[in-house]
């Protein structure tokens, strides 16, 4: 939760009128001033339920709805403090959207909420199977004559990986999900590097 922790609030009283406020409230119920963003996960930030499966149209709708409330354009005539709150809020909403939009980052965030950190590569290095796969693929990418073929094969592999990931996460097999995430991390990186070299 390193992303939202940046904005951890030291108290939950309104900065303006000192009225007590619940963390989930954007504005003060007494004086309507926009508050500093409270620490919360990205699903909460966009008022979405914490689950991996997410319709992109639903995410986008939630994103626009939240931005419409907190974007700095809505606070032009206000005090500097409130304007700063709007910038901080709007940044959090942008960050939440960016993470949830990306299926891999969303999965990692989902696991982080469950207390599993997948940001360090350490564990993946003990996965002998993955290491073998990586060696084979590195050779393939290096030596293959058919660039289009490799590109297509990689994309298929990633696509398949994501559908397995989705099944695993809804089935709550978290250790298996972690394994798949490390694979997907590797393959998407490989595809990125590959497309970059192509251009």
């Amino acid at each position: 939760m390193s992303h939202s922790a940046n904005f951890l609030q030291s108290n939950l009283d309104c900065w303006f009128c000192q009225a007590p406020i619940e963390a989930s409230h954007l504005t003060c119920p007494e004086c309507a001033s926009l508050q500093e963003p409270a620490a919360m996960d990205h699903f909460q930030r966009l008022f979405l339920s914490v689950q991996y499966e997410l319709e992109m149209a639903q995410l986008e709708r939630a994103y626009f709805e939240e931005q419409a409330k907190v974007h700095p354009d809505q606070f032009v005539g206000k005090t500097d403090r409130e304007k700063n709150c709007a910038v901080a809020h709007s940044s959090c909403v942008n960050e939440a959207y960016a993470i949830l939009k990306d299926p891999l980052k969303r999965a990692q965030h989902f696991l982080a909420i469950k207390g599993i950190d997948t940001t360090e590569a350490g564990d993946s290095l003990r996965d002998v199977e993955l290491l073998e796969e990586m060696m084979i693929w590195n050779e393939k990418v290096h030596e293959s004559a058919s660039r289009e073929g490799i590109d297509h094969e990689l994309r298929l592999k990633i696509e398949k990986g994501f559908s397995t990931l989705s099944r695993t996460l809804s089935g709550s097999d978290l250790p298996q999900a972690v394994k798949i995430i490390y694979r997907l991390k590797y393959y998407t990186k490989l595809l990125d590097d590959f497309s970059l070299r192509k251009h």
């Binding site: 009283d13 000192q18 354009d73 032009v76 959207y97 960016a98």
Partner: protein
């Protein structure tokens, strides 16, 4: 004054709101500038008294150094000043048209800024731009029959931090508050999208006099979301003119570098007229007046196309990159909107059609659509925004790490506002300060990026090497401008940050320029400042005398009579025509009423039942 801070929100957040003037949208262009005003989402261009909608971005200094905007009426004429905005001397060398500017040589070693030479003075590009803005402001005030004090200003999407700041400073010098900087292609999409009620993914191809931008936007009901943007802040019609001029002079065994900057500048405007003629004709004739006789040349459309083909190809390459960034095929783009005078060139239109596999829209006025978008946004910001404008940052922001490499913190095309934190630690035992270098750009090495500033973190609690955890928060606001704050995490101690901008004007520079107001020649700035000070003092006095009536119980007798005398004195000072005197009295008032303000705050807090004063 402190007393003001305890007002309820919404009651008096702004001293001037009642008597506030109009808010306009301004497109400060390289070649032409436009001011527009919008009511009920219907934008219109505010023309000059003679009916001209475009104001040529030309400033001529007369013999007495008085500026005249919009025409080349003296040998001391500055064109295309926008190209110099935010530039350092290093960047200037890469500018094609650099030798058409009369630059000041009077610069010291540590001076990284570019100055223009006007008579015996050095003038910043900000001040020259301010003259253009002042003229637009006047034009708007005549049309609207009222005061214009705020604006939404457009900038090329690819303007960097320094150029954005410089543009904002120019508006300040012209006596306008900038409510928002918006990117030119975004403004164009806003005006076009609202007028035509379109939805889907649109590309804006904006090739102006000095800059090129391409933005991809997703338009849907009330939301204008920029998906990605690309561009080149130093590519535009001006460069085409330079290519043409050089090629024509070469035929006569001459080079533009042999001529004085003012001569080059006037040659370039002759070339521009020829180039514009070629939009509808196959060949044109131009002649350059010289003391030894005229040089007459003819220029064909095919020659022009040959000369600009590399530049146009560069813009297409950027278009393809932007499409790739968001994984889109040209066919998925619903429509292409052309903006900027250089898109009138048939060759450019053909190239864009080919790149996006479709004909661009022909029903857009490429000169005015940007100002119209700015005006719509100006209206939205002041009367409650119904539209949501979500833009991105065009350039990556990073810090210098070991080996003069760049560590990117906020990558380009991130939606703004964006806020990211980065943790730093100390490398020596007991270290209490460290320097951080912030850069902007896409390259891996510091030397290839633009230096934005060096920040010094001080007051780090002495600890073992690597123990301190200093979290630095980088925030890019909705204008695309950066701010930085820092905190030591283990102790929670806030750090003081010294910002030393590599480019741009410091607050002191701004004040100096305002005070000198030499470009003005009149004292309208001085009188405006005086008026502002007086308005502030008057408001302060009103608050104080109000409090003296309602919160008398917080004062003893002698305090009450002291403060009452102070109000009387203040009302006399209000008649002064000396700003220093007014300001000095405001300071005195602040000092003398500080204790009263504190008592009021704590009494207000007690009434709220918390009893403690929050920091």
């Amino acid at each position: 004054m402190r007393l003001l801070q305890i007002h309820e929100p919404g009651q008096t957040p702004d001293l001037h709101e009642e008597g506030r003037g109009y808010v306009v949208g301004i497109d400060l262009g390289t070649t032409n500038s436009v001011v527009a005003y919008s009511e009920e989402q219907m934008p219109r261009t505010l023309s000059s008294e003679s009916g001209a909608s475009l104001l040529p971005s030309i400033v001529s200094f007369q013999e007495d150094l008085q500026p005249k905007v919009g025409e080349a009426s003296s040998p001391l004429t500055i064109r295309s000043v926008k190209r110099l905005m935010g530039l350092g001397r290093k960047e200037l060398e890469q500018l094609q048209s650099s030798h058409s500017f009369h630059l000041s040589e009077d610069i010291s070693e540590d001076d990284s800024l570019v100055y223009l030479k006007v008579g015996d003075r050095r003038v910043t590009p900000q001040e020259v731009s301010a003259e253009i803005l002042r003229d637009l402001k006047k034009r708007a005030e005549v049309q609207l029959e009222g005061n214009v004090d705020r604006c939404v200003l457009t900038v090329p999407a690819h303007f960097d931090e320094a150029a954005r700041k410089a543009t904002k400073d120019a508006a300040k010098l012209a006596g306008m508050e900038v409510l928002r900087l918006i990117n030119e292609p975004t403004a164009a999409a806003l005006a076009y999208g609202l007028e035509n009620g379109v939805e889907g993914i649109y590309a804006v191809y904006d090739l102006g006099g000095g800059t090129f931008d391409v933005s991809l936007l997703k338009l849907q009901k009330g939301v204008f979301q920029v998906l990605a943007t690309g561009g080149d802040p130093a590519l535009g019609g001006d460069d085409f003119d330079v290519f043409v001029l050089d090629s024509l002079l070469e035929l006569h065994g001459k080079r533009s570098k042999d001529f004085a900057p003012s001569t080059v500048s006037s040659f370039l405007s002759i070339v521009r007229c020829g180039k514009e003629e070629l939009t509808s004709r196959d060949v044109c004739h131009v002649s350059f007046p010289l003391p030894e006789g005229e040089i007459k040349c003819s220029l064909s459309r095919s020659k022009l196309e040959e000369l600009i083909s590399d530049s146009v190809e560069r813009t297409l390459k950027i278009c393809r990159e932007v499409l790739q960034t968001v994984s889109l095929n040209p066919a998925e783009v619903q429509g292409v909107i052309l903006v900027g005078g250089s898109t009138r060139i048939p060759y450019v239109q053909k190239a864009v059609s080919k790149c996006f596999e479709q004909d661009p829209y022909g029903n857009v006025n490429p000169d005015e659509v940007v100002a119209h978008g700015a005006a719509i946004q100006a209206e939205a910001l002041t009367s409650g925004a119904q539209t949501l404008l979500l833009d991105v940052t065009p350039l990556s922001l990073g810090v210098e790490i070991m080996g003069e490499m760049v560590d990117k913190i906020i990558p380009r095309n991130s939606p703004i506002p964006a806020s990211k934190s980065h943790e730093f630690t100390t490398s020596q035992d007991g270290q209490t300060a460290m320097a951080i270098h912030i850069v902007q750009g896409e390259r891996e090495f510091v030397k290839d990026c633009r230096s934005l500033g060096r920040f010094e973190l001080r007051g780090i609690p002495p600890m073992g090497a690597g123990k301190a955890r200093i979290k630095v928060q980088f925030t890019v606001d909705a204008d695309g401008l950066l701010s930085v704050s820092a905190r030591e995490e283990t102790t929670g101690a806030a750090q003081s940050i010294d910002v030393r901008p590599t480019y741009g004007l410091t607050q002191t520079d701004m004040e100096k320029i305002l005070a000198e107001s030499y470009l003005n020649g009149s004292d309208d700035i001085r009188s405006r400042l005086l008026l502002e000070s007086k308005i502030k003092l008057e408001a302060d006095l009103n608050v104080l005398s109000g409090s003296l009536k309602t919160e008398t119980e917080l004062l003893n007798k002698s305090e009450f009579s002291d403060l009452t005398t102070l109000v009387e004195k203040g009302n006399i000072v209000l008649r002064s025509s000396n700003r220093e005197e007014v300001e000095a009295f405001r300071k005195l008032l602040d000092k003398e009423t500080c204790f009263y303000a504190e008592r009021q705050i704590s009494s207000a807090l007690k009434r709220l039942g918390t009893g403690t004063k929050k920091p």
